[in-house]
């Protein structure tokens, strides 16, 4: 018992478990992802790390997944289930567009993810299959990108300014909140170059306080995974572009 009032963190534990210590098998988890609005759209970023307890399972994990040309999913939680959800959504969105000759609406895309999360309830309750994704999508009617985040049971919420998920997201959301309130420029006013530098600095900050977050190391050309969503759709930012922006920020 940890007494923090978080029911979801209580679920994996046996009701009749030991009172003297943890007897939990470490599950593989992907952390840390976040998204925020900048001047030209939405930036979605994440580190490359997947962990199992105190073990670094992989430092090359791809967590920002393009679902179609107008939507992205950033995954935190169980990678196997999250990646399968993304694959299912990719196929569902493409199949709808091709067979119906029109793109699926943003509301229907959000619902599709919500339904998958809800269907994953048994794995969530068992504690090894929890997924808490961020979804960024473009509304074809307004050409405006939006950010949504989900609880592991499928409830969706709009991240009006930003959203974060995963173990390192607490620090990141705190900084983003601060900048949106008192920053200059605020993240939503930033240019692409400023937003990219901020995203990498946010990951460095999160890694300072969370061992499950893989930091970035610009000196070794190791940057965040970043995808952009704007009126023209999804674009993946290359390491070279990020390195350029980083150099500009130092000069």
């Amino acid at each position: 018992m940890n007494g923090d009032g978080d029911f979801l963190s209580l679920l994996p534990k046996s009701a009749f478990g030991s009172v003297s210590g943890e007897a939990k098998t470490a599950a593989l988890e992907a952390t840390t992802v976040f998204a925020f609005h900048y001047a030209d759209g939405v930036i979605v970023a994440g580190d490359h790390r997947a962990t199992a307890g105190n073990i670094v399972f992989s430092d090359r994990t791809e967590k920002i997944l393009e679902l179609d040309r107008h939507s992205l999913m950033a995954i935190a939680g169980s990678p196997s289930i999250a990646i399968e959800m993304a694959r299912t959504l990719q196929t569902a969105f493409d199949f709808y567009r091709r067979s119906q000759l029109q793109p699926m609406s943003l509301a229907a895309k959000m619902r599709a993810l919500s339904r998958l999360l809800h269907d994953n309830l048994p794995a969530t309750l068992q504690g090894f299959g929890t997924v808490a994704p961020i979804f960024a999508g473009l509304d074809p009617a307004t050409n405006r990108p939006s950010i949504f985040f989900y609880d592991p049971l499928g409830a969706q919420f709009e991240g009006v300014d930003y959203a974060g998920s995963g173990s390192g997201s607490g620090s990141i959301k705190s900084v983003l909140h601060f900048l949106e309130q008192w920053g200059g420029p605020k993240p939503r006013e930033m240019t692409l170059a400023q937003a990219v530098v901020l995203a990498n600095r946010l990951l460095m900050t999160a890694a300072e306080f969370d061992t499950a977050t893989g930091g970035v190391d610009p000196l070794r050309n190791d940057f965040a995974t970043i995808k952009l969503l704007g009126a023209a759709g999804v674009r993946t930012l290359s390491v070279a572009e990020q390195a350029d922006f980083w150099r500009q920020s130092l000069s």
Binding site: E66, D68, R69, R87, T88, T91, D94, F95, R97, R98, S99, L101, V234, R235, T236
Partner: protein
């Protein structure tokens, strides 16, 4: 009639073939070109689409009855997505889709003489790493299909005119032609085939789209991009920018 009446069956098949060809009269040609930039598909319609996305690297251009085009389109889209989801997108290939899914279904449909026939002629395209890897498959209403080797496929209702148009286009095309120039050539051939006139290259600056618009026709053009940032290579193009 039963299957032990072969002469009546052959007669029925011949009638069916004649009926379909008669129904196809008036349909206008569609084109597919393997180019350095990708595979260009072009059709001219009157409200109904003729060029369609099938899967990440596959597309379709068809003429015929809109409802029958829909049946074929849905069949191949479903087969492609089932295969892509069960295995991987790289396992979705035109050869497998035609050999094991669409081809047998079309042939069986054509030979079921008590059901309505499918009135469709089409070309399927699959983008490869280089032009030599591109696949253009010309599919007929009876389920026959052939893979084109010359990088050009014209789909028309008259076989002789189709062959002549394909040959003429192959002679006109070169690696250096832009997508715009290829589109203009295709429209010139479209006009020649529908008007029953000899093929002639369009004059530079000639307005090809305006007369079609005046006739209530719309040009549809799409490109299967050879290289692109997305796994999905189908890109609808604006005819206004091309012709």
């Amino acid at each position: 009639m039963t299957t032990d009446e072969p002469y009546r069956w052959l007669d029925a098949i011949a009638n069916r073939r004649e009926y379909i060809r008669d129904q196809l009269k008036g349909a206008t040609p569609v084109f597919a070109f393997s180019r350095p930039e990708g595979i260009l598909l072009l059709g001219v319609g009157t409200g109904q689409s003729k060029v369609f996305e099938v899967y990440d690297r596959q597309a379709l251009a068809a003429l015929g009855h809109p409802v029958d085009i829909e049946k074929i389109r849905q069949t191949i889209i479903e087969a492609a997505h089932r295969e892509g989801f069960t295995r991987a997108p790289e396992d979705v290939t035109l050869r497998r889709l035609l050999n094991f899914s669409l081809g047998p279904a079309l042939k069986a449909g054509f030979e079921q003489i008590f059901s309505a026939p499918l009135i469709v002629e089409c070309v399927f395209a699959e983008i490869g790493v280089g032009s030599a890897d591109d696949v253009l498959a010309r599919v007929g209403f009876d389920g026959t299909y052939r893979f084109e080797n010359g990088g050009v496929s014209v789909v028309h209702t008259e076989a002789a005119d189709e062959a002549a148009a394909t040959e003429w286009l192959r002679g006109q095309l070169s690696e250096t032609l832009s997508l715009s120039e290829v589109s203009r050539l295709a429209l010139a051939v479209w006009r020649a085939l529908t008007a029953g006139k000899p093929f002639a290259a369009p004059e530079v600056g000639a307005a090809l789209a305006a007369p079609l618009a005046a006739e209530g026709r719309t040009i549809e053009v799409a490109l299967l991009e050879r290289k692109g940032p997305s796994r999905v290579r189908y890109l609808p193009l604006s005819p206004a920018e091309l012709v």
